[in-house]
Protein backbone atom coordinates (compact mmCIF):
# COMPACT_ATOMS: atom_id res chain seq x y z
CA UNK A 1 0.00 0.00 0.00
CA UNK A 2 1.30 3.45 -0.84
CA UNK A 3 2.04 5.95 1.90
CA UNK A 4 -0.65 8.37 2.90
CA UNK A 5 -0.05 12.07 2.68
CA UNK A 6 0.42 13.40 6.23
CA UNK A 7 -2.29 15.78 7.36
CA UNK A 8 0.13 18.60 8.21
CA UNK A 9 1.52 18.43 4.67
CA UNK A 10 -1.98 18.68 3.29
CA UNK A 11 -2.83 21.61 5.54
CA UNK A 12 0.21 23.57 4.37
CA UNK A 13 -0.48 22.59 0.78
CA UNK A 14 -4.07 23.80 1.07
CA UNK A 15 -2.88 27.13 2.42
CA UNK A 16 -0.34 27.51 -0.36
CA UNK A 17 -2.88 26.50 -2.98
CA UNK A 18 -5.13 29.29 -1.80
CA UNK A 19 -2.49 31.93 -2.43
CA UNK A 20 -2.03 33.81 -5.66
CA UNK A 21 -0.98 31.77 -8.67
CA UNK A 22 2.81 31.41 -8.80
CA UNK A 23 4.78 32.53 -11.81
CA UNK A 24 6.26 29.86 -14.11
CA UNK A 25 9.62 28.69 -12.79
CA UNK A 26 10.50 25.62 -14.83
CA UNK A 27 10.17 23.62 -11.62
CA UNK A 28 7.22 21.66 -10.30
CA UNK A 29 4.83 23.81 -8.29
CA UNK A 30 2.55 21.07 -7.01
CA UNK A 31 3.30 19.34 -3.73
CA UNK A 32 6.40 17.35 -4.61
CA UNK A 33 6.55 13.82 -3.23
CA UNK A 34 10.05 13.51 -1.84
CA UNK A 35 10.11 9.73 -2.03
CA UNK A 36 8.05 8.93 -5.15
CA UNK A 37 5.95 5.80 -4.96
CA UNK A 38 5.09 3.54 -7.90
CA UNK A 39 1.75 3.61 -9.62
CA UNK A 40 -0.69 1.34 -7.75
CA UNK A 41 -2.24 -1.77 -9.20
CA UNK A 42 -5.99 -2.07 -9.10
CA UNK A 43 -8.77 -3.14 -11.43
CA UNK A 44 -12.12 -1.36 -11.58
CA UNK A 45 -14.97 -1.04 -14.08
CA UNK A 46 -14.96 1.69 -16.71
CA UNK A 47 -17.96 3.55 -18.08
CA UNK A 48 -18.35 1.02 -20.90
CA UNK A 49 -18.74 -1.70 -18.30
CA UNK A 50 -15.31 -3.20 -19.09
CA UNK A 51 -12.67 -4.11 -16.53
CA UNK A 52 -9.95 -1.47 -16.41
CA UNK A 53 -6.47 -2.39 -15.17
CA UNK A 54 -5.24 0.99 -13.98
CA UNK A 55 -1.50 0.35 -14.06
CA UNK A 56 -1.56 -1.46 -17.42
CA UNK A 57 -3.92 0.93 -19.21
CA UNK A 58 -2.06 4.05 -18.14
CA UNK A 59 1.45 2.64 -18.62
CA UNK A 60 3.87 5.17 -20.10
CA UNK A 61 1.46 8.09 -19.80
CA UNK A 62 1.24 11.05 -17.51
CA UNK A 63 -1.66 9.95 -15.31
CA UNK A 64 -3.80 12.14 -13.08
CA UNK A 65 -5.86 10.13 -10.60
CA UNK A 66 -8.74 11.62 -8.62
CA UNK A 67 -11.24 10.00 -6.29
CA UNK A 68 -14.53 11.93 -6.19
CA UNK A 69 -18.24 11.52 -6.77
CA UNK A 70 -20.61 12.72 -9.43
CA UNK A 71 -22.97 14.67 -7.18
CA UNK A 72 -20.06 16.52 -5.57
CA UNK A 73 -20.89 20.17 -6.20
CA UNK A 74 -17.88 21.98 -4.75
CA UNK A 75 -14.53 20.19 -4.88
CA UNK A 76 -14.72 17.71 -7.77
CA UNK A 77 -15.98 19.97 -10.59
CA UNK A 78 -13.37 22.60 -9.79
CA UNK A 79 -10.47 20.14 -9.76
CA UNK A 80 -11.56 18.29 -12.90
CA UNK A 81 -12.63 21.36 -14.89
CA UNK A 82 -9.35 23.12 -14.25
CA UNK A 83 -7.41 20.14 -15.57
CA UNK A 84 -9.71 19.93 -18.60
CA UNK A 85 -9.29 23.60 -19.40
CA UNK A 86 -5.50 23.49 -19.14
CA UNK A 87 -5.24 20.32 -21.23
CA UNK A 88 -7.32 21.99 -23.93
CA UNK A 89 -4.63 24.65 -24.10
CA UNK A 90 -1.82 22.11 -24.60
CA UNK A 91 -2.99 19.35 -26.98
CA UNK A 92 0.47 17.80 -27.26
CA UNK A 93 0.52 17.18 -23.52
CA UNK A 94 -3.12 16.11 -23.52
CA UNK A 95 -2.33 13.41 -26.08
CA UNK A 96 0.13 11.89 -23.61
CA UNK A 97 -2.07 12.26 -20.55
CA UNK A 98 -4.76 10.08 -19.01
CA UNK A 99 -7.11 11.63 -16.48
CA UNK A 100 -8.79 8.96 -14.40
CA UNK A 101 -11.77 9.78 -12.21
CA UNK A 102 -12.92 7.15 -9.75
CA UNK A 103 -16.50 7.59 -8.55
CA UNK A 104 -16.46 6.54 -4.91
CA UNK A 105 -20.19 6.94 -4.30
CA UNK A 106 -21.05 3.30 -4.92
CA UNK A 107 -24.72 3.99 -4.22
CA UNK A 108 -25.15 6.53 -7.03
CA UNK A 109 -22.08 6.55 -9.30
CA UNK A 110 -23.17 4.11 -11.98
CA UNK A 111 -21.04 3.84 -15.14
CA UNK A 112 -23.74 5.72 -17.08
CA UNK A 113 -23.91 8.52 -14.54
CA UNK A 114 -20.13 8.86 -14.42
CA UNK A 115 -19.93 8.99 -18.23
CA UNK A 116 -22.60 11.67 -18.39
CA UNK A 117 -20.82 13.65 -15.66
CA UNK A 118 -17.41 13.44 -17.31
CA UNK A 119 -18.76 14.21 -20.77
CA UNK A 120 -19.80 17.62 -19.48
CA UNK A 121 -16.22 18.23 -18.34
CA UNK A 122 -14.03 16.42 -20.87
CA UNK A 123 -15.16 13.35 -22.84
CA UNK A 124 -11.57 12.08 -22.90
CA UNK A 125 -11.52 11.55 -19.14
CA UNK A 126 -11.70 7.95 -17.99
CA UNK A 127 -14.36 7.13 -15.41
CA UNK A 128 -14.19 4.13 -13.11
CA UNK A 129 -16.39 2.56 -10.47
CA UNK A 130 -16.59 -0.68 -8.55
CA UNK A 131 -17.97 -2.47 -5.55
CA UNK A 132 -17.38 -0.89 -2.13
CA UNK A 133 -14.61 -3.43 -1.55
CA UNK A 134 -12.93 -2.73 -4.89
CA UNK A 135 -13.13 1.01 -4.36
CA UNK A 136 -11.66 0.76 -0.91
CA UNK A 137 -8.81 -1.42 -2.17
CA UNK A 138 -8.07 1.05 -4.98
CA UNK A 139 -7.94 4.00 -2.59
CA UNK A 140 -5.72 2.16 -0.17
CA UNK A 141 -3.42 1.13 -3.01
CA UNK A 142 -3.18 4.77 -4.07
CA UNK A 143 -2.44 5.89 -0.52
CA UNK A 144 -5.53 7.98 0.07
CA UNK A 145 -7.95 7.59 2.97
CA UNK A 146 -10.94 5.55 1.77
CA UNK A 147 -14.09 7.55 1.18
CA UNK A 148 -17.16 6.94 3.26
CA UNK A 149 -20.81 7.87 2.94
CA UNK A 150 -22.71 9.30 5.87
CA UNK A 151 -26.25 10.68 5.70
CA UNK A 152 -25.97 10.74 1.92
CA UNK A 153 -22.84 12.88 2.03
CA UNK A 154 -19.55 11.56 0.73
CA UNK A 155 -16.25 12.28 2.46
CA UNK A 156 -13.36 11.79 0.06
CA UNK A 157 -9.76 12.70 -0.60
CA UNK A 158 -9.70 16.01 -2.42
CA UNK A 159 -6.28 15.95 -4.00
CA UNK A 160 -5.20 14.83 -7.47
CA UNK A 161 -2.34 12.34 -7.65
CA UNK A 162 0.06 12.74 -10.58
CA UNK A 163 2.05 9.82 -11.94
CA UNK A 164 4.72 10.71 -14.48
CA UNK A 165 5.21 8.50 -17.54
CA UNK A 166 7.96 6.73 -15.62
CA UNK A 167 5.20 5.37 -13.36
CA UNK A 168 6.14 7.28 -10.23
CA UNK A 169 3.93 9.55 -8.14
CA UNK A 170 5.88 12.79 -8.42
CA UNK A 171 3.38 15.32 -7.12
CA UNK A 172 -0.04 15.81 -5.61
CA UNK A 173 -2.42 18.73 -6.14
CA UNK A 174 -4.65 19.69 -3.22
CA UNK A 175 -7.92 21.46 -3.69
CA UNK A 176 -7.31 25.13 -4.43
CA UNK A 177 -4.56 24.44 -6.97
CA UNK A 178 -4.64 27.12 -9.64
CA UNK A 179 -4.64 26.69 -13.41
CA UNK A 180 -1.25 28.40 -13.53
CA UNK A 181 0.19 25.57 -11.48
CA UNK A 182 -1.31 22.97 -13.80
CA UNK A 183 -0.02 24.85 -16.86
CA UNK A 184 3.44 24.92 -15.34
CA UNK A 185 3.56 21.33 -14.11
CA UNK A 186 1.85 19.19 -16.75
CA UNK A 187 4.52 19.63 -19.46
CA UNK A 188 7.27 18.96 -16.92
CA UNK A 189 5.56 15.83 -15.65
CA UNK A 190 4.75 14.63 -19.18
CA UNK A 191 8.45 14.77 -20.06
CA UNK A 192 9.56 12.71 -17.07
CA UNK A 193 10.52 9.25 -18.19
CA UNK A 194 10.47 10.26 -21.84
CA UNK A 195 13.74 12.17 -22.01
CA UNK A 196 15.17 11.20 -18.67
CA UNK A 197 13.99 12.06 -15.20
CA UNK A 198 14.36 15.56 -13.78
Amino acid sequence: MARRIPRHVLAVALLLAGCAAPAPTGRLQGVVVEDPTPKPSFVLTDTAGERYDFAARTDGKLTLLFFGYTSCPDICPVQLSQIAEVLQQMPDVAARTEVVFVGVDWERDTPERIRSYLDRIDPRFVGLTGTPEELRAAQEAAGVPPAFIEDGTVAHASWVIAYAPDGLNRTIYPFGTRQATWRNDLPILAAMGEGGRR
Binding site: I5, A21, L80, T153, A155, F175
Partner: protein, 148 residues
Protein backbone atom coordinates in the same frame (compact mmCIF):
# COMPACT_ATOMS: atom_id res chain seq x y z
CA UNK B 1 -25.94 53.43 40.42
CA UNK B 2 -26.34 56.19 37.86
CA UNK B 3 -22.85 55.55 36.61
CA UNK B 4 -23.60 51.85 36.30
CA UNK B 5 -26.77 52.55 34.33
CA UNK B 6 -24.91 54.94 32.08
CA UNK B 7 -22.16 52.39 31.47
CA UNK B 8 -24.73 49.71 30.69
CA UNK B 9 -26.54 52.00 28.29
CA UNK B 10 -23.31 52.90 26.51
CA UNK B 11 -22.32 49.24 26.27
CA UNK B 12 -25.73 48.33 24.90
CA UNK B 13 -25.55 51.11 22.36
CA UNK B 14 -22.08 50.03 21.25
CA UNK B 15 -23.16 46.42 20.85
CA UNK B 16 -26.26 47.43 18.91
CA UNK B 17 -24.31 49.79 16.71
CA UNK B 18 -21.67 47.22 15.90
CA UNK B 19 -23.95 44.31 15.16
CA UNK B 20 -27.18 45.24 13.51
CA UNK B 21 -28.52 47.65 11.00
CA UNK B 22 -25.37 49.61 10.21
CA UNK B 23 -25.80 49.70 6.49
CA UNK B 24 -26.17 47.08 3.82
CA UNK B 25 -23.04 44.97 3.33
CA UNK B 26 -21.40 45.44 -0.04
CA UNK B 27 -21.17 42.33 -2.17
CA UNK B 28 -18.19 41.57 -4.40
CA UNK B 29 -16.75 38.66 -6.39
CA UNK B 30 -20.23 37.19 -6.81
CA UNK B 31 -20.41 34.31 -9.29
CA UNK B 32 -22.47 31.21 -9.96
CA UNK B 33 -20.28 28.20 -10.69
CA UNK B 34 -22.14 25.79 -12.93
CA UNK B 35 -20.91 22.80 -14.90
CA UNK B 36 -24.13 22.05 -16.72
CA UNK B 37 -25.56 19.50 -14.31
CA UNK B 38 -28.17 19.52 -11.59
CA UNK B 39 -26.24 21.55 -9.02
CA UNK B 40 -24.60 24.96 -8.97
CA UNK B 41 -22.71 26.96 -6.39
CA UNK B 42 -22.91 30.62 -5.50
CA UNK B 43 -19.76 32.27 -4.20
CA UNK B 44 -19.43 35.87 -3.02
CA UNK B 45 -17.98 38.16 -0.41
CA UNK B 46 -20.20 40.45 1.70
CA UNK B 47 -18.47 43.06 3.81
CA UNK B 48 -18.52 46.57 5.11
CA UNK B 49 -21.80 46.64 6.96
CA UNK B 50 -23.59 44.81 9.71
CA UNK B 51 -26.46 42.50 9.05
CA UNK B 52 -27.45 38.86 8.95
CA UNK B 53 -27.98 36.95 5.73
CA UNK B 54 -31.23 35.03 5.92
CA UNK B 55 -31.77 33.58 2.46
CA UNK B 56 -30.36 33.50 -1.05
CA UNK B 57 -32.47 32.87 -4.13
CA UNK B 58 -31.30 32.40 -7.69
CA UNK B 59 -33.93 32.45 -10.42
CA UNK B 60 -36.46 31.54 -7.76
CA UNK B 61 -34.44 28.62 -6.39
CA UNK B 62 -33.61 28.82 -2.69
CA UNK B 63 -29.96 28.13 -1.97
CA UNK B 64 -28.72 25.87 0.80
CA UNK B 65 -25.96 27.13 3.08
CA UNK B 66 -23.25 24.50 3.30
CA UNK B 67 -19.62 24.29 4.22
CA UNK B 68 -16.84 22.00 3.08
CA UNK B 69 -14.62 20.79 5.89
CA UNK B 70 -11.42 18.78 6.11
CA UNK B 71 -11.36 15.77 8.41
CA UNK B 72 -8.34 14.55 10.33
CA UNK B 73 -7.36 12.08 7.60
CA UNK B 74 -7.47 14.65 4.82
CA UNK B 75 -10.91 13.86 3.44
CA UNK B 76 -13.17 16.71 2.47
CA UNK B 77 -16.85 16.52 3.19
CA UNK B 78 -19.79 18.85 2.97
CA UNK B 79 -22.30 19.60 5.70
CA UNK B 80 -25.12 22.07 6.26
CA UNK B 81 -23.89 25.27 7.85
CA UNK B 82 -25.07 25.75 11.40
CA UNK B 83 -25.31 29.14 13.02
CA UNK B 84 -26.01 32.68 11.86
CA UNK B 85 -24.44 34.16 8.75
CA UNK B 86 -23.51 37.57 10.05
CA UNK B 87 -21.50 40.41 8.60
CA UNK B 88 -19.94 42.93 10.97
CA UNK B 89 -17.67 45.86 10.17
CA UNK B 90 -14.68 43.74 11.17
CA UNK B 91 -15.68 40.36 9.74
CA UNK B 92 -16.81 39.81 6.17
CA UNK B 93 -18.96 36.90 5.14
CA UNK B 94 -17.05 34.83 2.59
CA UNK B 95 -18.60 32.13 0.43
CA UNK B 96 -15.81 30.39 -1.48
CA UNK B 97 -14.90 27.07 -3.09
CA UNK B 98 -13.80 24.59 -0.45
CA UNK B 99 -15.41 26.57 2.36
CA UNK B 100 -18.74 28.13 3.15
CA UNK B 101 -20.92 28.13 0.04
CA UNK B 102 -24.46 28.44 -1.26
CA UNK B 103 -25.63 25.35 -3.11
CA UNK B 104 -28.42 25.19 -5.66
CA UNK B 105 -29.89 21.78 -6.36
CA UNK B 106 -32.48 20.26 -8.65
CA UNK B 107 -31.48 22.32 -11.67
CA UNK B 108 -32.40 21.25 -15.18
CA UNK B 109 -29.17 20.08 -16.86
CA UNK B 110 -27.92 22.74 -19.27
CA UNK B 111 -29.97 25.45 -17.54
CA UNK B 112 -27.23 28.07 -17.92
CA UNK B 113 -24.00 28.46 -19.85
CA UNK B 114 -20.88 30.34 -18.79
CA UNK B 115 -21.32 34.01 -19.59
CA UNK B 116 -25.01 34.08 -18.71
CA UNK B 117 -26.06 36.50 -16.00
CA UNK B 118 -28.62 35.41 -13.46
CA UNK B 119 -30.57 37.27 -10.81
CA UNK B 120 -29.42 36.55 -7.29
CA UNK B 121 -31.52 37.85 -4.41
CA UNK B 122 -29.88 38.20 -1.02
CA UNK B 123 -32.35 38.55 1.83
CA UNK B 124 -30.88 40.42 4.81
CA UNK B 125 -32.51 40.50 8.21
CA UNK B 126 -32.35 44.29 8.49
CA UNK B 127 -31.90 45.55 4.96
CA UNK B 128 -34.38 43.23 3.30
CA UNK B 129 -33.95 41.93 -0.25
CA UNK B 130 -31.13 43.08 -2.48
CA UNK B 131 -30.92 42.01 -6.13
CA UNK B 132 -27.73 41.36 -8.05
CA UNK B 133 -27.00 40.29 -11.60
CA UNK B 134 -24.30 37.67 -11.29
CA UNK B 135 -22.23 35.98 -14.00
CA UNK B 136 -22.33 32.23 -14.51
CA UNK B 137 -18.82 30.77 -14.68
CA UNK B 138 -17.45 27.36 -15.51
CA UNK B 139 -16.16 25.50 -12.42
CA UNK B 140 -12.69 25.82 -13.98
CA UNK B 141 -12.92 29.52 -13.12
CA UNK B 142 -14.68 29.12 -9.79
CA UNK B 143 -11.64 29.90 -7.68
CA UNK B 144 -11.73 33.44 -9.03
CA UNK B 145 -8.84 35.84 -9.18
CA UNK B 146 -8.53 35.54 -12.95
CA UNK B 147 -6.88 32.14 -12.98
CA UNK B 148 -9.24 29.38 -12.05
Amino acid sequence: MTALRLAAAVALALVSASCVGRGVPEVSSARVSYGGGETAMVYLVAEGGADRLVEVRVDGIIGHFHETVLDEDGRMTMRPHAGPLTVTPSSPLVFEPGGLHIMLTGLDPGLWTPGDRVEVILVWEEAGSRRLLVPVVDPASALGGGDG
